[in-house]
Amino acid sequence: MGSIKRISKELTELTESPPEGITVELADESNVYEWKITMEGPEGSPYHNGKFLVKLSLPTEYPFKPPTVSFATKIYHPNVTNDEKGSMCLGMLRADEWKPSSKIAAVLQFARQLLSEPMPDDAVEGRIAEQYKNDRVRYEEVAREWTRKHAC
């Protein structure tokens, strides 16, 4: 399939005109399937001023199979697992929701949007989601502190 062609095209587009707060590069120049993304914490969120390293892996069947997104930088967020994997659960990245014409740019923008507006109902960290819903102040405090500690 023409997956390399498609990936190169997307990469070029993303490096030439990157979406706000996002920079994209290959983790290793010889491998187009592993991307290294730097995501700035969006303004107005407790992640503001933080720089988060996000890894994006493309399956060989891309674009027929969805990419996976994970946070290499520790982040206090209901939708990111609080472990060394830092997996992120995005609805659009589920195999049955992914469409081959969906673009990585959209995925990244969606991920960054999620930093501003967590989705506690689809949380992977139930405890953080609970806190986000019931004690927003405390949640923001911790998130800000983690950002300072890990992402600055």
């Binding site: 399939m1 023409g2 062609k5 498609r6 027929f64 199979k65 469409k99 081959p100 014409s101 673009k103």
Partner: protein, 646 residues
Amino acid sequence: MTFKYLEAESRNSFEHRLEPPSGPTTRRSYASPLPSIRARHRFYPVTSGPISHIPLAGIFAVTFTTPPITRKRKAAEAIADEALPKAAHGSRKSTSASDPRSHQSESTTTIEPTERESPVSSRSKKRLSATPTTASMDSDDEFMSDVSSQDDFLGTQGSDDESLGEDFDDLDAGFSDDKDLIKHKKKPYEVEFKVLDPPDIDHEQLGQVNEVCAILGLPPESVAILLRFGRWNKEKLIESYMEHPEETLEEAGLGSNFEGTAKTERVPGFMCDICCEDGDDLETYAMRCGHRYCVDCYRHYLGQKIKEEGEAGRIQCPGDGCNRIVDSKSLDLLVTKELQGRYRELLTRTYVDDKENLKWCPAPNCQYAIDCGVKNRDLRRIVPTVRCFCKHEFCFGCSLSDHQPAPCTLVKMWLQKCEDDSETANWISANTKECTKCNSTIEKNGGCNHMTCRKCKYEFCWMCMGLWSEHGTSWYNCNRYEEKSGADARTAQAKSRSSLERYLHYYNRYANHEQSAKLDKDLYLKTEKKMTSLQSQSGLSWIEVQFLDTASQALQQCRQTLKWTYAFAFYLARNNLTEIFEDNQKDLEMAVESLSEMFEKPVAELAGLKVDILDKTAYCNKRRVILLSDTAENLKNGEWSFNIEW
């Protein structure tokens, strides 16, 4: 001689309990103008339904004119024929009005060739109601409404009614009897169903699509999508379409644009959004939503959806955010024959899953589906057991294998309980006591009798279960057996123990039959070998050694039933019905055990035991029918009382 006499006779002699209620039922079938008598597993109220509208006298007049072969039975009918003055019917009708149960004696008045097998004397009218044919006269039954139509079972079975009634007296009664029982008479525990093979299901789908096509005037592939969206609820779908056509189409993943034919195109200056290939000679395809991709990508996408994700009815356009469903025409245009086949298979699968009256046979690799009208809400009152062409018998309600007589809910509760309890219950019973205050189970882990419950901190004496503070400090040995707190505690303890013991009683028997059925099954696998060696040792022909096969099948089936009678009994409250049930259970169990014993005899003795085995097999089957009929009947009428809410 009057009918009254007959009725009295039938009540006083208990033989009819063992009677396969062939005579009248079948004869009624002959009298029936309906072709449906050829079906094997009819659910009884259906046949009785239309017939019961014929005046009673009419039924009986016809009923007794086509007697079966048995001489004794002929005699019985001769009596019956004499006993048919209209006046008698009138009086009978009035009895039946006051007591609906009195019907059953009508259909059981034949004299049974197997009198000797009935050790039980007449007990009560209640007990009489245990006869299999009891309900065959109840016409206004709610189950009737669940059975789609008479035609449903047409042609599904090809058995010949003509053979019925023969051979009851001869040696082969064992299996001809058994077969006839299954084929021709509807027992209270039998439900109506038919087995469908994949082409039947396709045909059914197509029929519905065409029907809706004609009404809505949309192309068939779109109607198919609509129907799948509406889970094949035609009426609701049509209504919703009539009210809001555009919304319905949109929600179903169809646009309101039905123009154009499905074909691939070459579009100058096109670049595929998926693979980013371009070129003027690139073959492309777009559905009516206009999202155009190259044929290769489309194909790859569809292939992956169908093969890897097992998706069919809900494959959307590959376009980001487009919810248009890929229709079968587009699919056929793009993918290989093999994938098309797989696609149809998946569609059929969802069709069966969507329809409440259809279920796949759960047997491994079985391709048949069962069509049965029993609804979920009926499951409290019926255990819809069906038999697939692959011979697997299972419950239509829950797809577990045959669990008659226990209803699905109880079965689920029982299995759950067994899962929770069975492994540990024995150990608990042997090694622990319950804290008298909070009922936590406590294991004694030291020599000291001064127990402190870890959960509620209650302190008590292990020996007498009494409050420790009443022991005083100086006494280490328990001499306080008569103290009140100790006695109360022991009563509570005994209660909880006895409930555990009760459970274990039923569980052990349940598990034992399960185990025995497994062993019998092993034996069954060896039966063929046994049959071969019996042939060579005794000079019997192949057909003559079939009795072993029949016996082994009967054993399997009866053990399966017995197993579930114990789960059922566990939840039964104690009353007269329960006692009758336990008697039936005991009779069946005894019969099964003795057949099982005969069956295990060395091959050399088997030829000599043939008659006994045949008799016993027939007897086992009859006892099973009686037990199941009794239970099903009471379940249907809501007469059982249970010791739990469900």
